[in-house]
């Protein structure tokens, strides 16, 4: 064994927190022979193990790639600060979990971009791996570095560091990419010619190679569009999308962590996409159209997952599981099959209606948890603006059902700082929560219950996201967000209502990196040098360091987050295509200001967002099967 591995095993791992974060010995982890494959790749999750291992996308790609004889895919997560300190002080490189190899030894690395505030961890992981941060400084001997996930739809702040991005659903495209990389190496005695490789990859639909594009700026230094500078490269890159979820790969032997992770359960993906059309919601655009998986297939998958994992809970996951057209028969069948084995079922997302409460009641046959609903805004006017199809009557109906069925706690999610918001809307949040509480008191009193109801109001700040109807909106200034948070606090008077809110400084940074262009790469680098990492973790997020980073580079973050844009303003992500047309998004924005709602294309008319027409896909509902 190499000496550093021995030091790691004997001296470092015994003294860091949760050493299991760094060992790939879990059940169903795949350890392949490096010499027996043509391509060695690494899935890099820029957050801690417990977060990364709760991510279904990791399990899908890990299973799919490792089932191919010619490739291997190992894992690496952001090391917690205690391990980072040990690695740095001893000069030990960041290593993969499965084979304990330095990350620089792989042929390619793929980062998943789940949220903007994980970006500094990407830089930190590359640095810990001894890999030059800047793509242009990485020669042919370094691994090629790719990234995918929702933030890849505006990856511009990361283009200095990442060689190429993949847009859309990874299982649809990854094997094409791997085949090109493997063949490229096979022709060159296992080596790569990076420039040539990237040219080959740029021909794959869904692959975006930023080095082949030049960002243009006007005389005032404002972003003015993107120009292709490499011949033969498409001016726009469209996402890849799975057409039929029943045919798509699904991992039936997922890794079973030893360590308790955030989502410690079997995940059944019942559908992909959501067309409820909330105007702030990015996932609702990126994962269009809605594609459901057949009930019978899901039941089969549940049986196999149970046999292969031993988990005691099944989660029916999706963006909105109560919208699954076969949710009742599926739930009934899964409950009947698994109840005798003491395997529970959980629903991660509930629509605000009594139908959803009934579903929740069904699944509580085995285990009882709290319930969460998301009215998002405090008044009907604002809920219509954001196209959130929830009324106060529905919310109170839900409260009645929840408390009648024996729950005593309810959590409500809201967003603050939404476009057109006034103080009336903030007061509306407090009033709605008070009404729900009053309903709870009434119901529990009628039932003769001794318990008092408890409401938690959890408020995040609106972040305008690319590819949404609100992508042109300005975020409220930091000071205004903080003022609104305080105002709302003053309006919540009930002791039985707990009020908590997200850090507004974090939401501000999130907006900047969600909407920013290439110049932000310099800020990321400066922030990382100042010690920023794990910015999504409140104990590590340091706003002062970020301010300093912006000062050093000479970029004013307020000009990115707090300025409204015109329809004609070139956007840094205009060349990246989610399938949903910009005109449709603008029309949705106009309708927001007219307080007009748009129906769900699953149940109402097609709203012509463009995804089905342009990407040759269709809404796929299983009802009536």
């Amino acid at each position: 064994m190499e000496q550093w591995k021995q030091v790691l095993e004997e001296e470092i791992l015994p003294k860091v927190m949760k050493p299991l974060r760094y060992q790939g010995n879990e059940y169903n982890a795949v350890k392949k022979d490096w010499k027996a494959v043509k391509l060695r790749s690494l899935f890099a999750f820029p957050d801690v193990y417990e977060v990364g291992m709760s991510h279904l996308g990791l399990q899908i790609l890990y299973g799919l790639v490792n089932e191919q004889a010619d490739y291997l895919l190992e894992r690496v997560f952001a090391p917690w600060t205690d391990l980072e300190e040990e690695l740095r002080s001893r000069g030990i490189p960041l290593f993969s979990l499965e084979s304990v190899k330095p990350i620089a030894a792989f042929d390619c690395l793929g980062f998943t971009l789940q949220y903007e505030m994980s970006y500094t961890n990407i830089l930190n992981m590359l640095d810990l791996g001894g890999i030059p941060l800047l793509a242009k400084e990485r020669g042919d001997d370094y691994p090629v570095i790719m990234a995918g996930g929702p933030c890849a739809y505006n990856p511009e702040p990361l283009v200095d560091f990442i060689d190429f991005f993949v847009l859309g659903e990874g299982e649809e495209v990854i094997l094409e990419i791997y085949q090109i990389m493997a063949e490229h190496r096979a022709l060159r005695q296992g080596k790569q010619d990076k420039k040539q490789l990237l040219k080959e990859l740029a021909q794959v639909n869904g692959v975006y190679v930023p080095a082949f594009y030049e960002a243009l700026y006007d005389e005032k230094g404002k972003f003015a569009g993107m120009k292709v500078k490499e011949p033969g490269v498409a001016p726009r890159v469209a996402k890849r999308v799975v057409k039929d979820l029943d045919q798509a790969y699904f991992p039936l032997r997922p890794i079973v962590p030893y360590l308790e992770v955030v989502h410690d359960r079997m995940m059944l993906e019942v559908l992909r996409g959501c067309t409820r059309g909330c105007r702030f919601c990015q996932a609702g655009v990126l994962y269009r159209p809605v594609r459901e998986r057949s009930k019978d297939l899901l039941v089969q998958q549940a049986e196999q997952l149970s046999k292969n994992t031993g988990h005691n809970e099944i989660s029916l996951t999706s963006l909105s599981t109560s919208d699954y057209t076969c949710v009742e028969p599926l739930l009934r069948e899964v409950l009947n099959r698994f109840e005798g084995r003491n395997i529970g079922v959980s629903l991660p997302s509930l629509r605000v209606d009594s139908f959803s409460v009934n579903l929740a009641k069904e699944v509580q046959r085995v285990r009882k948890t709290g319930l969460t609903f998301a009215p998002e805004a405090g008044t009907q006017r604002l809920r219509d603006v954001i196209n959130k199809n929830v009324t106060e009557e529905k919310m109170l109906e839900v409260a009645e059902a929840v408390f009648s069925e024996g729950w005593t706690q309810l959590k409500l999610y809201f967003m603050l700082g939404l476009p057109t918001e006034t103080l009336v809307d903030l007061e509306g949040i407090a009033e709605l929560a008070a009404k729900v509480l009053a309903k709870g008191r009434e119901i529990l009193r009628e039932k003769g219950s001794k318990q008092a109801p408890k409401i938690t109001v959890s408020v995040s700040s609106f972040v305008p996201k690319p590819h949404t109807a609100f992508q042109w909106e300005a975020q409220d200034s930091l000071a205004l967000l903080q003022e609104k948070q305080k105002y709302l606090r003053s309006k919540i008077k009930e002791k039985r209502i707990t009020y908590n809110y997200h850090d507004a400084e974090l939401s501000f940074m999130e907006a900047v990196f969600a909407k920013g262009d290439r110049r932000l790469g310099q800020v990321l680098l400066a922030a990382w040098r100042l010690g920023c990492r794990f910015d999504g973790w409140s104990e590590y997020f340091c706003y002062e360091k970020w301010q300093e980073a912006f000062r050093q580079v000479g970029i004013v973050p307020e000009q990115i987050a707090n300025v409204p844009l015109e329809f004609t303003t070139p956007l840094p992500w205009d060349h990246l295509d989610s399938g949903v047309k910009k005109e449709f998004l603008w029309q949705e924005r106009e309708k927001a200001y007219q307080i007009t709602t748009t129906g769900d294309c699953r149940f109402a008319a097609c709203s012509v967002c463009g995804v089905c027409q342009d990407l040759d896909v269709a809404v796929s509902l299983k009802k009536g099967e």
Binding site: E11, N25, Y27, Y258, L259, G310, N342
Partner: protein, 244 residues
């Protein structure tokens, strides 16, 4: 039916906490499709009772648990099915039905054997160069003497954090056997100590006792390996499987 399983926690699983291990075992039993018996109540859990908890970083080749099943299954079938689905680092070595024993494993097990590797950071006499073989003979004499002196005293007090603050405990009566050997740059201690509800001696505490008298400077990174858990009864040492 009640089964007693003997299992090992090996290198690849050494960083599992007791809680991690319990979860890993439950999942393995579920994968094996065993007809697990569950506790009553709102949050039923499988009826698995462990003999003793192993700390993070500690390996063992002789751990035990009692497993309650709803239906009769031949022990060898259980062994075979579970063996196929255990994660790396966990291994079931034997399964026997519990017929005679009325008490829990935890109540009857009272002796544990450990092997502890203690790194030697610095030699006590570096100036004299000796022939390797001769050195080993001398080392053995020295370590034998150190241990003999340490255990000659009827009292060795260690401090333990209790619910009501720190208290002092005499561990010497709980140390039943102790031997040492020098292997390269390591001192290997083997010990048999009292464990369980009647009193518990931790291997780290025994190392502390030796360390205090050692002419070598001993390092802090211990490798603790449990050789087994036993029942000392009727003036004999029994394997738990022999009294099930």
């Amino acid at each position: 039916m009640l089964l007693c399983l003997q299992y090992s926690k090996e290198e690849e699983a050494r960083f599992l906490s007791h809680l991690d291990l319990m979860m890993a075992m439950e999942r393995a039993f579920r994968r094996a499709g065993l007809p697990l018996a569950f506790s009553e109540g709102f949050n039923p859990h499988p009826r698995i009772a462990y003999a003793s908890a192993l700390a993070v970083g500690v390996t063992s080749e002789g751990e035990y648990l009692d497993l309650q099943l709803r239906e009769e299954l031949p022990p060898e079938v259980v062994l075979e099915r579970v063996s196929k689905v255990l994660p790396r680092g966990l291994r079931v070595k034997a399964v026997v039905p519990v017929t005679k024993r009325k008490q829990s494993l935890m109540a009857v097990i009272n002796l544990a054997r450990y092997r502890v590797e203690v790194p030697i950071v610095q030699d006590y006499d570096q100036e004299i160069e000796k022939e390797l073989l001769l050195q080993e003979v001398i080392d053995q004499e020295v370590i034998d003497r150190v241990i003999a002196q340490a255990i000659a005293f009827p009292v060795y007090l260690v401090q333990r954090q209790g619910k009501k603050g720190i208290r002092e405990v005499n561990i010497r009566p709980g140390i039943r056997e102790l031997t040492g050997q020098i292997r390269g740059r390591k001192l290997i201690l083997e010990m048999a100590v009292q464990t369980g509800s009647s009193g518990n001696v931790k291997p780290e505490e025994v190392v502390k006792m030796v360390r205090a008298r050692s002419p070598w400077q001993l390092g802090e990174n211990l490798r603790i390996h449990r050789l087994g858990l036993y029942i000392y009864a009727d003036t004999q040492v029994w394997l738990p499987l022999e009294r099930s």
